[in-house]
Amino acid sequence: MWRDIAFALALILAIIALAYATTLRGLGPLPPDNLRNLAIAYLKTTYNPFKPLFTAMAPEAVTAIIWDYRGLDTLFETVVFYGAIIAALTLYREVYKERDVLPLRGLSLIVKRSTAVISIAILSVAAATALHGHLTPGGGFQAGAIAAVAPLVILVVFSKIFLESRGVQYTKLLTLRNLGLLGIGLTAIALILVGLALGSNAFIFQNQAKELARLSYPSKALDVPLGGSLWFFNLFEAIAVAAGFTLVFMVLMSSEELAKREVVGEEHGY
């Protein structure tokens, strides 16, 4: 009880000090009134046909920053995401591969039919968001998060046994996720492999032609700007993220009988 009061007093003191510092222009003038130089550099070169050696050929600046200017950050963020999913699945390592045992029926007929219609709409919106991510706001993560809602709703309305008997099983989802990550890795080094075959240099995560390496991804598809490697990155990232979330939801929704098998023997202390 004294500890709670001490926490509350410390936090109130912190708010008052921060508010005082902010009123004295600690964060700069409010509201702020000019752009940083780094942002000006990114915005000038994101779609600039007059400087073909510095540009990313994608009209959307945020996607270009994520997959071209700061591509290595995103690669490691995907690794962290993969690690968290693996950690969540390891807790159930005795039971995740087995089929469920309880005969379940799901909810009523009206709910089932409307869920079937809506989940097709959700999946098509997710596919559209992934594929136009370099032209308008959208992209890989957004599409993966939208596409992860559909399996969750289907798992609740129909049952897990229904989904497993229709072929959405643990091993197949794991294969899909690994294919997505393999795709991201290959897109990052594809130009190096092509350069080995043709005998010239290339950089990792290279998108357009640079001064020392004259290979590049195609920058227009017929007459629409294709952001080079950004389109491929968005596609593979959406597949990987959606499959990863579905795996965690399937493990979270196992029935109690199956999950009790995991905890057997833990009171003896291992």
Binding site: L27, Y42, L43, A61, V80, F81, A88, P137, V248, L252
Partner: protein, 143 residues
Amino acid sequence: MAIKIPTLMYMITVLSLYVNIAVALYAVLAKPNLVKKIIALTILGHSVNTFAILVGYKLWRPGIILQPPVLTELEPSRRAIEEFVTRAVDPLPQALVLTAIVINLAVTLFLITLALHVYRHFGTVDMVKIGELKRGALREEVS
């Protein structure tokens, strides 16, 4: 010195974000139920992300119409690019916050799985009761 409306409203927004962060932090520290802690942790993460984008809203001069950082001309002339640079909002905090949202989601899903596992082992999710159970088990082992 008369305070203009935009400055006052911006200050109110910044202060209410500070209050949100403090209240969520207090709930993480002082409430004993695990699910309440997880809910408060997600609120804390969201408030910090909003603060990052609020600070990155760096371009406001009266008279300019702002634009999100998406170029809308597919055959731009040099003048169009210059105008885009003078009107667009900073794109860098948005890219960083996108990464942060996905990582927070993965870690929160892992925490939910852990809370379920704790419930199956101990039978309760109240940290005070779990502490008493563990102290009782330790006394049994020692004696």
